[in-house]
């Protein structure tokens, strides 16, 4: 394993990453100590990569004391799946994969049309997996800065048997005293990196030298422009008649279901470049004269939402 190079001998106060890390380790250990059968949701994306690394640190010198669960939409980049398997092996974690495809076969998921995004259907498969294994806590890499509704979500959040989040009925969360008690049939969603921002995640990836799928770094890719969005040309999202296919230097800011994840134009080939780009992105947002990375990400999210209805 890589060893961080920063000075860790001083008080944790010296560095906000130390504090965020310490908070995450604390939360992971609370779950490990108080929950009966926790599982770590691992998709192979950058946030779950950070979460897995934090789990390694939280349990050390024991190996990670819970299994990994991936809900496979069947629409993942092969590279991400290979990365997922490699990480599970490196950390000696049991990896459970449950696929939306199986739910479709069983009839619990019904698609409107074959090419529909399967993102929304993941939750059905997830709930089936939770019931199958009897998980009482699912550790996830969600962050509160991702979207507005998340800003109000607790670090430890109770879900009922339908997996529903009841925003009105959340438990107040005080100090670092997490209430992890759940009734039989309910389960917890726990987000140890709630307080991290996208930039924190990248800074931590750099500091800890965390391996990521290559998709996160700038590469040449065939895309089609649809408004502000670069749509990758893949077997699931082929070019339509009349489309102009371009080859551009781009990278993914988030890695998910192929049918709804778009790359952004970028020349950032390493983590340092990405950090600079992410910081720069905040500066250009002041001007607001054009839609930049983040805006297109939001636009993409909007598209995802529309796909639901």
């Amino acid at each position: 394993m890589t060893v961080s190079t920063h000075d860790g001998l001083g008080p944790a106060a010296a560095d906000h990453l130390d504090l965020l890390e310490a908070e995450a380790l604390f939360i992971l250990r609370e779950v490990a100590a108080e929950c009966r059968h926790p599982v770590l949701l691992f998709s192979g994306g950058k946030d779950s990569a950070v979460l897995l690394h934090l789990a390694y640190k939280a349990f050390h010198p024991e190996r990670i004391g819970c299994a990994l669960l991936h809900i496979d939409t069947g629409h993942n980049y092969a590279e991400v799946i290979a990365y997922r398997d490699r990480m599970a092996e490196r950390y000696a974690c049991q990896l459970h994969v449950r696929s939306v495809e199986d739910s479709i076969r069983k009839g619990s998921v019904r698609l409107r049309h074959a090419q529909e995004s399967r993102n929304a259907h993941q939750s059905v498969t997830l709930m089936e997996a939770i019931a199958e294994f009897g998980f009482d806590a699912c550790l996830g890499g969600a962050r509160r800065d991702e979207e507005k509704a998340r800003a109000k979500e607790r670090i430890v959040s109770v879900r009922d048997e339908f997996g529903q989040w009841e925003p009105k009925n959340q438990r107040p969360e005080l100090w670092s005293l997490y209430n992890t008690r759940v009734a039989l049939g309910d389960h917890l969603r726990v987000f140890p990196i709630s307080n991290w921002t996208e930039l924190d995640v990248w800074q931590y990836i750099q500091r800890e030298d965390i391996e990521l799928p290559e998709l996160y770094f700038a590469h040449q890719r065939q895309v089609v422009r649809r408004g502000d969005i670069l749509v990758p040309v893949t077997h699931l999202t082929p070019a339509r008649a009349g489309d102009t296919v371009e080859t551009v230097s781009c990278r993914f800011r988030t890695v998910g279901d192929i049918s709804c994840t778009a790359p952004v134009a970028s020349t950032a080939v390493n983590v340092a470049d990405i950090i600079a780009e992410t910081a720069q992105c905040l500066l250009t947002e002041r001007g607001a004269t054009r839609l930049d990375d983040r805006a297109s990400e939001a636009a993409m999210e909007q598209r995802k939402k529309e796909g639901y209805f």
């Binding site: 050390h60 024991e62 190996r63 509160r144 107040p172 005293l177």
Partner: protein, 442 residues
């Protein structure tokens, strides 16, 4: 704020002067009445520090324009959670993030409505600093006192009195000073606090991210300057060493992590609640009181010679002592009290009132014990600060002084000495909800 000495009434210190350099992370809350400009202040602060995304900005510009406003309504940034508003979850605390070159900030954004004491308490529990907004035209109002009291109750050491809408009183120093004096007189009664007062206009951004030349009579920092340099709680943490044990970690039968030694190992995982720990230090294992020395200290695969407050570590000791989750490693010279009785101030959070006949669960550090409320001494009216003696229950948002009897002892400190070992939550064993927050008085 070391640079600001008490030469004027802008900075008012009733306690010890903070000394060390500020940490990389500050958690703060904003409080004030509904129309005092809290949302405007947050929105404007996010914008002026370059933390508003282009799409967010475009959206609130469009909405402001649509409503026929001449300028951008910054409150749309934080109040713009339309879907959430429709769902009626405005009572909740939202967490927001921004960063400058010097620091990262976490804002606990608690709604200002009067009935939501519990939200203020929730947000305040983890805050290092509280910004109390006052409308310059209205001055110190009941809500200001209430929030100052709650900030005091939750032990927030740093208070900022943001005197907003100063442009609407023509930046008159007399108006500002009268408000500051009144506030300081009130806070002085509560106890030790460091108060920084700042005259500003959130709407215009005056004295928010940058200091304004337009106010020659004010020599203090802008709000952002103050936030960037104000000490976080942990900066001045000189409390004795405490480490509640979260997990006992045992390497045996081949369960060692990749790269870790396969040799048998027994250690204790936890986060330093306070103080420092060095290799070779003697620690007391509470509640038993056995002594041992620190033989190993690490964060994952990195060995440390020393660790400070808030660090999540693994500790190995030089002697075999039976230690489990819920025990606490402590400074042997300054032990916590081991007690089965707590005297505490309780904020009741649940819609279901406190029931003196019922058994509850108290979670304190990493230990959970059964408890009953033996006595309620008084209820504090947070609006008037008047005491109502001997209440027979507590309703949601009530603050009561209570005595709890515990089935097993806890290793506790007074909250004023240690926010981690002095705080607890109360869980209803039937609903499993968190029903109260408690700060230990003794």
């Amino acid at each position: 704020m070391n640079a600001i000495v008490n030469s004027s009434s802008d900075s008012f210190d009733t306690g010890t002067e903070p000394t060390t350099r500020p940490s990389g992370l500050l958690r703060f809350i904003t409080a004030g009445s509904v129309d005092d400009g809290k949302s405007t202040l947050i929105g404007r602060l996010l914008y002026d520090t370059g933390n508003v995304a282009a799409d967010q900005l475009a959206s609130i510009q469009a909405t402001s324009h649509k409503r026929g406003l001449a300028a951008i309504d910054w409150s749309l940034l934080t109040d713009g959670l339309i879907a959430e508003r429709e769902q009626g979850i405005t009572i909740d605390v939202a967490y927001r993030y921004f960063a400058t070159a010097r620091r990262k900030f976490i804002i606990g954004d608690a709604p200002g409505h009067e009935q939501y004491t519990r939200n203020m308490v929730t947000a305040a529990s983890s805050a290092d600093l509280a910004i109390l907004l006052v409308d310059a035209r209205k001055g110190v109002v009941t809500q200001t006192r209430r929030h100052a009291y709650l900030a005091h109750l939750l032990g927030i050491p740093e208070l900022v009195l943001a005197v907003n809408k100063m442009d609407l009183v023509d930046w008159q120093p007399a108006v500002y000073h009268a408000i500051v004096d009144e506030f300081n007189a009130f806070v002085g009664q509560l106890g030790r606090h460091h108060v920084q007062a700042i005259p500003l206009s959130a709407l215009n951004g005056t004295n928010l991210a940058t200091r304004s030349e337009a106010i020659p009579w004010y020599s203090g920092p802008s709000l952002l300057e103050h936030l960037e340099s104000s000490p976080a709680r942990r900066d001045a943490d000189v409390a004795p060493f405490r480490l509640p044990v979260q997990r006992v970690v045992r390497v045996m039968l081949g369960n060692a992590a990749d790269g870790a030694s396969d040799a048998e190992f027994r250690g204790y995982q936890g986060t330093l609640a306070s103080g420092r720990l060095r290799l070779g230090d003697e620690v007391a294992v509470m509640p038993g009181g056995q002594r041992a020395r620190v033989a190993g200290l690490s964060v994952a695969d990195r060995d440390l010679a020393e660790a400070g407050a808030d660090r999540s570590v693994v500790v190995a000791l030089d002697s075999e002592i039976d230690i489990s989750r819920g025990d606490m490693l402590c400074d042997p010279q300054q032990l916590p009290q081991v007690t089965k009785t707590l005297s505490a101030d309780i904020c009741w959070l649940s819609e279901q009132p406190l029931d003196l006949r019922r058994k509850y669960l108290v979670k304190h550090t990493t230990r959970s014990v059964n408890a009953v409320f033996a006595e309620l001494s008084y209820r504090v009216d947070v609006n008037t600060l008047a005491y109502q003696p001997q209440p027979d229950s507590a309703q949601m948002n009530d603050i009561v002084r209570a005595t709890l009897k515990l089935h097993q002892p806890l290793c506790a400190d007074a909250y004023s000495d240690n926010r981690t070992t002095g705080s607890f939550i109360v869980i209803d064993p039937v609903s499993l909800h968190t029903v109260a927050a408690g700060v230990i008085v003794r």
